[in-house]
Symmetry: C2
Subunit: 200 residues, 2 copies
């Protein structure tokens, strides 16, 4: 179904390509853009252009950065002995939002997945090993997703990093805060039983 404007249809199609934006959100956003002032639309466009022109990959952690080495890697107040290993750049933002993590990061850019032909050398795993050898890292927190591939990456990391004298940790798995046990899946309940913690 075409609307009376090909230009509107074209924009709805473009916005719909973005992840997390369905056809209804795309239509709503397109109408909003149509009614926004030219100045505000220009600001949005310039913000997108600035992002594309200026954002780099941190040469140390592999996360996003406005400078060759990112503001987290160079922050003297962050604990340089604790390294949080994440699958992708976005996870860094998600963890930073909690405000509870004070260490540094390493972005793998993927996970080990033999079925997809992805081995340790296909992701930034060698760089992780290198950092564990050359930096003063004592603890690695594996914050990969709780999937088969994520767990495989955790186990592989343990095998490689433990001999280097590094403590390899993983994120706790259990009931999401605010969840209802009756609506929680069996695998999660099993994990929450196996990895139960003592009430102190």
């Amino acid at each position: 179904m075409a609307s009376p404007s090909e230009y509107l249809d074209a924009l709805i199609r473009e916005l719909n390509k973005l992840p997390g934006i369905g056809s209804k959100s795309a239509a709503r956003a397109a109408f909003h853009l149509l009614e926004m002032s030219d100045a505000n639309v220009k600001q949005l466009l310039n913000t997108i252009i600035a992002l594309k022109e200026n954002v780099l990959e941190c040469s140390l952690c592999g996360g996003i950065s406005d400078t060759p080495v990112c503001s987290i890697c160079t922050d003297p107040s962050r604990q340089q002995q604790t390294l949080c290993v994440i699958e992708d750049k976005k996870a860094l933002i998600t963890i930073e939002k909690t405000g509870t993590y004070k260490g540094i990061y390493h972005v793998l850019g993927g996970v080990i997945s033999p079925l997809d032909g992805i081995g340790p050398d296909d992701i930034r795993f060698p760089q992780l090993v290198e950092r564990c050898k050359s930096e003063s890292i004592k603890e690695v927190i594996m914050a990969t997703n709780p999937t088969i591939e994520g767990d495989a990456t955790v186990l592989y990391s343990l095998k490689v990093l433990k001999p280097l004298g590094i403590r390899v940790m993983r994120l706790a798995r259990g009931l999401p805060v605010g969840a209802d046990i009756d609506f929680t899946d069996v695998a999660t309940i099993s994990k929450s039983l196996l990895e139960r913690s003592e009430v102190l």
Copy 2:
């Protein structure tokens, strides 16, 4: 909480201003834009610019259009005797999507709301009356939202348009298709009882 990139933070803030796009969707879209090819980003930007430069308001129905009079108003296959009255331009797209309406439209650009000081002359109501007098319209379908203001607009339209010999209709109110009666609000169930239809 700031990410290691001010440019990314700025874009997330901009995207978050769009309706229907929360902070998580905004972050996801911003990361996606970061990883999109320059060519694809340019295409998106050009689509937004084309929208702003080319989309007009149809001088007849008040809907969106690429030409002074829109493709629906000038479509000879649409029934010119049936006029669907809607609150805003977006509702036209929503109704067109159903594919079941074959008449023409009139966009009010709002609803009558005495509490907000909005009377018939503050929206495109005089134009509606004018069209009902000058065009061959026999039936007006009021497709305003089922709110107090929407209903007030329906009643006011009845008062003004019925004396012109026009049949004034409203959209059916009742159970949404696929709904569960136990989870439907009392007002909707009341309407569905009052406006029940015979099984034929």
